[in-house]
Amino acid sequence: MKPVIEVENLVKKFGNFVANDSLTFSVFPGEIFGFLGANGAGKTTTIKILCGLSAPTSGKVSVAGYDVYRHSELIKKNIGYMSQKFSLYEDLSITENFQFYGGIYGLSRNEIRERTKALLNRLDFLKAQNEVLRNIPQGWKQKLAFSVAVMHQPKVVFLDEPTGGVDPITRRQFWELIYEQANNGTTIFVTTHYMDEAEYCGRVSIMVDGKIEALDSPEKLKNQFAVNSMNDVFVKLARAAK
């Protein structure tokens, strides 16, 4: 199976500071891939490169079959993105946000209408569709941002710390959404610093100080480090690094 994300020796420097130090990994279609690491480890940097928001310093990177140096615009047609900072329009309503992004991705007005309805129904949020986003609670905003990101049925969805600052129940609901999307064939690339969420992923990589120190399924990693939880795996790695 051809990987949907291929990264080989990716380096990203900001001046003299090396944020990403020679990363190599691949993600396969339909996977839920967890990109883990502590805050400041370099996860957001990588995700921005994969999304075509930032250019790599060196290394080979391809997403959805396209080279990130030469065809970043083509990549963008095939991906969805949910940033760490909430970035839908607070002064527009839910429907208006969906309309806008749907239109940008080339969906017809009918498609936009149908998919919005379906997505909102799934969230059981249809009645609030004309509410301005500013008035909606945090947890719901995040679920909505996710829905917008997958509305155009992209091959890959990039989620940067999607469950930050949200209660455990909402987090669980969010992951249910992620599972459903993965079952539909979408590849999920999610970064998080919550180690318990790592258990939900098919495979995970753990970044420490800009380097990937571990890359495998949660099961295998726990066996490898002889511990019971992903959190412990991480602690062992972090200690070794410093």
Binding site: L53, Y81, S83, D91, L92, I104, G106
Partner: protein, 371 residues
Amino acid sequence: MRTVIFILQKEFRQIFRDKIMLPIIFIVPVVQLLILSYTATFEIKNTRIVIVDQDHSQASRELVFHFESSSFFKVVARQQNYQQASEWLQNGDADQLIVIEADFEKKIKTNQPAKVLLVTDAINGSAASLMNAYAQQVIQGFNKNLLAERVPFQNRPIQIKVEPLFWYNPKLNYITYMVPGILVLLVTIIGFFLSGMNIVKEKEMGTIEQINVTPIKKWQFITGKLLPFWLIALFDLVFGLGIAKVVFNIPFLGSFPLLMGVAAVYLLVVLAMGLLVSNLSDTMQQSMFISWFFLVIFILMSGLFTPIESMPEWAQWFNKINPIAYFITINRMIMLKGSGFSDFSESFYVLSAYAILILMLAVNRYKKVKA
């Protein structure tokens, strides 16, 4: 193309939903026009003068009468001597002193030059020049009367009479001069300031990242951002023209479509510049400061307040890249003198080229991908 429509839809929704925007589009122009027109004046009326008449003769009283009846002057005091009078200048209670020397009448009668001393508070240099010019005019009027009286004795009329005529603004109304300029200022602020701030707002809020991740093309995004303000600025121009006509009765001698055509091109330049500024700014405060910096310099040099012709060479060269200077000149020409396209075609072509250049530059500089 469809994409642009979606973007425009979103932009217009946001603009009209922004509680601050609507007053800015409708109320601020009105207020600005009204207030600026009355405050932005270099007109000097009612110069406050103190008279020191050291002669106390019929001739000196006659001269004082001339000053009193002049609409340009207001006699605020009469003093006995220079010392007392200069207190008034020091206190800021008067602008000018008129000192008539003792022997004034005697000298006139014996055909010797009689002197009048004009002492002006010249802190405001321009105002001082004007005040002086007006005072000279009053004294010339007095002179003419004297000569006319003398003439029967000598049988010689004044030989060279100078007759000034004032076209286009015969009443020398300063507001007529300023209002067209203020209109330009108005639309420039909307086009430059607001459009730039709008883009930086997205940067500051983070929504620009979401935009950059989509397949949206640069030109689509930029069109979506600039077009609404282009339309709003043009609308405000028409709106402002209406107010100018109704409230101030400003003449409009030239062609309305011509003015709108020039405005349309001018706004492209201004919008593109706003875009450039937004590229340089990360926060709204920065954007505001940088915009303000350039705007103030351009406006001061544009001939809005002081004539371009009075500026030194280097300033005139600078104005070749000052779009505001172009539009202010052309606007005044069309409105106040009825000039036609052929009168300023060269400037128009330069402005158009400028628009294309800056738009290309701004679009080029906008990066969806950070290096």
